[in-house]
């Protein structure tokens, strides 16, 4: 199952390399772009791109303070690089970011659009970002607390317009790409599920689900798709959750998993590279359970333990095809061995009080040596695994 060309990874040896500061709003999405770039999106609809330094700069005492995510968090090893590029065009929360051909960045947003960005394209302008603007604003507003506003961390960026925009009906919450990168699937809060030809952006198939389409995933053979649904009313007969595996050719349900996962908002789903495992994770504020299913029968293979307290936000298979990463509303990433369901590494630490902060999304680098997490507290963390 191991992908040819991928290195053997020692997940148990891991180092937090960088915590990239960006606190304009919650960092909501992240994706590696090749092994040398990283893109992240936030709740304001902004997308920034970082070049990952080949020779990281060691942290000095002063820079260590600037880059410290939280007293309870792990301290990064190196000084955070600054972003170099900004993708302009979205006007609301970036829910998902994915990368195709190490060139195309594709984003899904609450502004009802999916956008493509050509990273080989030429930027059209420049701009300046203050990466710790929120911290400064909060300190200035709460002067009585005695906390001094920190010095601004400024970044000069080149700005770039989208190469393509696909309009949807509502918040586009679900976005995934097939293993061969030929097909995109999106799901929105109007209940529309759409399959697109990834290269042209043209619609191949679409169907309607009863609730709001939430998590989506498409199988490597393109024959089936997972769609979870929600309509999160409380104490109302209109409340709805659902989970189905669909036949993508006929746009009809193959398996209805609604009864087995009753009242669970499934917030994340992903097919393994060989298509033999479908991982799903429970979101909302329920117990963040993760289940591995056999996509051909929709039968549960196993449930992973421990749970992500207060919900799963993202699931991602490692390029080696042997491991799964999960994250959630407890600010930890867990690496799981698919074969036996054992957790082999936990990255990060739970933060906050009774309720924790979130990691919204995770992404493996294509060579599998690194994992990045979008942290709502205004950071993008990058860990290096041992070899």
């Amino acid at each position: 199952m191991k992908e040819p060309g991928t290195r053997s990874i020692n997940f148990e040896k891991s180092t937090l390399l960088w915590s990239l500061v960006w606190d304009a709003d919650w960092v909501s999405a992240v994706s590696f772009v090749g092994d040398k770039h990283l893109a992240a999106g936030n709740n304001l609809g902004e997308i920034l791109l970082w070049e990952i330094p080949e020779k990281p700069e060691a942290l000095t005492e002063s820079t260590s303070e600037k880059n410290k995510p939280n007293e309870k968090s792990e301290r990064p090893s190196y000084q955070a690089p600054l972003p170099t590029r900004q993708m302009i065009g979205h006007s609301n929360i970036i829910n998902r970011l994915i990368c195709a051909e190490n060139r195309w960045l594709i984003s899904a947003s609450n502004d009802h659009t999916t956008k493509y960005w050509d990273l080989m394209g030429t930027p059209s302008g420049t701009g300046t970002h203050v990466l710790n603007a929120r911290t400064i604003e909060d300190a200035n507003r709460n002067k009585n607390s005695g906390k001094k506003a920190p010095a601004p961390i400024k970044a000069e960026v080149k700005t770039q317009q989208p190469a393509k925009t696909i309009k949807g009906n509502e918040w586009i919450v679900g976005l995934a790409m097939s293993q061969d990168q030929s097909t995109l699937i999106t799901g929105d809060d109007s209940g529309q599920v759409v399959l697109y030809d990834r290269v042209s952006g043209t619609k191949k198939k679409h169907w309607q689900v009863k609730g709001w389409a939430y998590a989506v995933a498409i199988s490597p053979d393109l024959k089936q798709a997972l769609v979870s649904e929600r309509y999160p009313l409380v104490f109302d007969s209109g409340r709805h959750t659902g989970l189905k595996i669909w036949n993508t050719e006929s746009a009809t349900p193959l398996h209805d998993l609604g009864k087995e996962f009753k009242d669970m908002q499934i917030s994340a789903g992903a097919y393994s590279q060989d298509g033999k495992i479908l991982a799903i994770g429970r979101g909302g504020e329920g117990d963040g359970k993760i289940f591995l299913l056999d996509p051909s029968t929709a039968k549960k293979i196993r449930e992973l333990s421990p749970i992500h307290q207060y919900g799963v936000t993202d699931l991602c298979f490692h390029p080696d095809g042997l491991h799964l990463a999960s994250t959630g509303r407890d600010t930890v990433i867990r690496i799981w061995n698919i074969a036996d369901g054992k957790m082999i590494k936990e990255l990060g630490k739970p933060r906050g009080g009774q309720f924790k902060d979130w990691f919204h999304a995770i992404s493996f680098s294509p060579d599998g040596t690194r994992v990045a997490a979008a942290d709502m507290a205004g950071f993008i963390h990058i860990w290096q695994f041992g070899s």
Binding site: S91, N110, L233, V234, F235, D236, S237, G284, G352, K356
Partner: protein
Amino acid sequence: MNLNNNGKCENIEHISRRTMLKATLATGTGNAIANWGGLFNSQSIAQEAQKLGKRCILLWMNGGASQIDTFDMKPGKSTAGPFREIQSKLPGYKVCEYLPKMAQQVEKLGIIRSMRTASPDHPDGIYHMHTCYKQSERMPHPELGAMIGKYIGNKDSDLPSFVRMGPTGNAGSGYLGPRYEPFGIERNGNMPYFTTPYLPPANETRRNDLLRFMENESRKDNITDAFESHRVAKERSWRLLRAKSLFDTSKDWPKHQDLYGASDFGRGCFLARKLVEAGVPFVEIGQDNYDSHADNFVCHKANMQILDPAWSGLLIDLERSGLLQDTLVVWMGEVGRTPQINNRAGRDHFIRGWTIVLAGGGIKGGVVYGSTDADGRDVATNPVSEGDLFATIYTALGVNPRAKHYVGTRPIWATPEGSKPIKELLA
């Protein structure tokens, strides 16, 4: 002593020697004991109010709806959240994108953006926003619905004067006594199980006549509040059963479902319209659950998709049937929600600057009163208290907000001292 139209003493309202003694005793111990709010000026106030023929529907947003995500949006600010504004029917006035139907009704709305209230949690907030008095006071205050029932209700009607459905108030009729207690119907609009007689109608009638006879005989020797409360409740029940068919919306609902939206709350709003048309002076319909400490935006988005057609449908239907000018529609909950978004993507309780909306009878439409600061963290102009709000509601309905009641020997007013109606909102 007050006399009703028949010239007979109203036991339920007058201050009896026994009650006066009880109240005097109570005052000595510092506790208030109800004598059903014996009034000295209620008859004239009620007569004046009844002449106006006003009605009131309260749309109760249980848990507390977010002002920033509905009618007091802060685009571009860190407190804004993901909802976007849309242009309403009135130039320059914008509302949340998930209230598109209400955006077409804004010329009917009087919007108070500067509620600054005093009870930050649910039980105390629900009590306070239903009575305009703090829950901590040693006094069983009546809810708005009980007060309206008293002053505007028709005592001879078979219908209750105060009907409520879904999650609503928690104070009841307080010192006004059992006559003005709310009649609650189930969340799905069904009547309570006990309204279904288990005897054939003829047997039921004979049984009730016998019970009435026995009650009247017993009453000659036992004139006490407890017996009287029981008798009044029984009489109300029998009368209500005669009017039960009015509560059945099964035939009419399919024709109105598109207008109000296919939801429990929408159906409740439709029932409210039917009831006020039939003469019920006060109906409260609750919508759960806005208490979005977590996932505020998906919660509000889902709730607004139910609220928008239901509320706008109600206003349209009232207007079409000529009832809107005499029917005050109030939209409120017990608290607003914090501008700050917490780490659960939620908003917590907020009382320093939130929004309530009035429409219809007695209210000037297309008016925004008060404001909050740039981020919505506090009231910037014209703070409005619970008492001010109730004074405005009472005035719009023709009820004197300074109506004085006595609980024992203790005077108490319909609204707290210093409460002022918002003149800018009154038609």
